[in-house]
Amino acid sequence: MWKRLDGLWIYAVAFIAFIYGPVLLMPLFSLNDSTFATFPLAGFTLRHYGEMFQNQSMMAAVLNSLKIAVIVSLLSTALAVPASLALTRYKLPGGGPIVGFMMLPLVIPSIVIAVALLVIILKFLGIQLSLWTVAAGHILICIPFSMTVLMARLEGFDPSLEEASRDLGCSGWTTFWRVTFPLAMPGVISSLLLGFIISFDEFVIAFFLTGTENTLPVYLYSQLRFPNKLPGTLALGTLILCGSAILVIIAEVIRKRGVQSGNPGDI
């Protein structure tokens, strides 16, 4: 069965080529010794990468994005852990609608979230736009992702382990730190990593809510209009793609290790 070469196998390989193909042109052209992203390739070079590090405004944007992404991933995970615990361990009245409400940012177009936050920040609260307002917007969209990951994890292991700990005389707090949290750890780590990636790559909300300082995607977007900046943009894009891919692989591998869940939805 595994080795059977049929239409479906060919389709699967073509599918993967389709979703990866266009993106892989970016690293290809970033190593090409030319200002244009065109065939035929002119020759191998690393100079676009070297030039990138000399670019002060780009490095500032990288730093801003890193700062925001770290804060966002820590805060959204810190908020999502107790919330997921509450929704999986207690029969809360109205639990279903609450989960539904908290998942809303997944289906609201991000431009609506962005303008809604823009309106309340500028017209109602009168706060200046800054990197902090971007971070606030990012926390909002990261919480549903963190909760999905954590709730799947918390539902995936046997609650009798926690009951045993309580029966043996541990307080709720001790049980949490010595039983629940270590078991939920893979979920926590992947929630941290995914939150980091979402925030680091997010463009629309950052574009609307940032003040004078750029995040990396906003900077990248401003560079896309200049054809002569293309190689630098490609080099930067390549590094971002590689970084995100590595983080996603780590997050997914950690999440799948350990307690096996019988639920195929927990992927």
Partner: protein
């Protein structure tokens, strides 16, 4: 106890989602006068979206008797473009999900991760990569010219609705595989064996068992693609050109360029309502609730 744990996250969500959306609704009932906002209640913004006129604006042969027809036309255009993209996505994703659910043995996790990575990598960069593929000086044009198949770059590749639809489909297709895969994976294999024992052919089994039982996941996947793509802003801006603009581009224009936030709010609210009503109608028409109840 339970509510105490939930409170911090829920409070943040209420403060940062519910209140801003309510503020957006309020603003849509106010009006812009010069640089200031006139805070007296008015339906002017909504009226502007549907205000009739005697002079029709003809778009694709359809006359629109509206004074300011742009929002309505862009809304219809966005819905159609998203619908086409969604159909393409489901058509492409379903066989892939079927493959992972039924054909892959052992290392399903490998395929799932392979399908997950693109979804998590920068949306901006994935869209931009299509600009490199389709552009005037792009990979297809320069490649074909290098091979001597064309003499001049093909200009119809980029900056049109088709480019937007291709890019949208490409950006979301991997995301749609997962819900479909889950519903396929949950199908009790003994049902398929029973059908085979009773003499059903492979196609009959697919039409009578696999497809109906995977319908809830497929519908969920199509909604997860359709809803956010209607309001997408990045793709039309980067690869759409003037002809490929969508309703999200109008929202951006009204807020950041024309400085008419009240009208922009009205457009955003109207967009969300139209999407919500269409989705509710669709789910009602196909009896989604019953379908899910039957499944479990």
């Amino acid at each position: 106890m339970g509510f105490g744990l939930l409170a911090p996250a829920l409070t943040i969500m209420v403060l940062m989602l519910l209140l801003p959306v309510m503020a957006l609704v309020m603003l849509s009932f106010w009006s812009q006068s010069g640089f200031d906002i006139d805070r007296s209640f008015t339906l002017e913004n909504y009226w502007k979206l549907i205000e009739p006129s005697d002079e029709p604006t003809v778009w694709f042969g359809i006359p629109f008797y509206l004074k300011y027809p742009i929002p309505v036309i862009l809304m219809i255009k966005s819905l159609v473009m998203s619908l086409v993209a969604t159909i393409a996505v489901i058509g492409l994703a379903y066989p892939m999900a079927y493959f992972v659910a039924f054909r892959v043995r052992g290392n399903k996790a490998f395929w799932i991760i392979l399908l997950t990575i693109p979804f998590w990598t920068s949306y901006l960069l994935r869209v931009f990569s299509w600009k490199i593929v389709l552009g005037f000086n792009g990979a297809i044009n320069s490649g074909l010219m290098y091979l001597g198949l064309i003499d001049a770059p093909l200009e119809f590749l980029l900056y049109n609705p088709t480019a937007v639809i291709i890019t949208l489909a490409h950006s979301w297709v991997a995301f749609a595989v997962l819900p479909i895969y889950v519903s396929l994976e949950k199908i009790d294999r003994s049902l398929l064996e029973a059908a085979a024992d009773l003499g059903d052919s492979r196609w009959q089994r697919f039409w009578r068992i696999t497809l109906p039982l995977s319908a809830p996941g497929t519908i969920a996947a199509s909604l997860l693609v359709f809803i956010p793509t209607v309001g997408d802003y990045v793709t039309p801006t980067l690869v759409g050109g003037p002809g490929g603009t969508m309703i999200g581009s109008l929202v951006q224009l009204l807020f950041l360029r024309q400085d008419n936030a009240p009208l922009g709010s009205a457009v955003s609210i109207a967009m969300m309502l139209v999407i919500a009503v269409l989705v509710a109608l669709l789910l009602w028409a196909i009896g989604y609730r019953k379908m899910r109840a039957r499944r479990s």
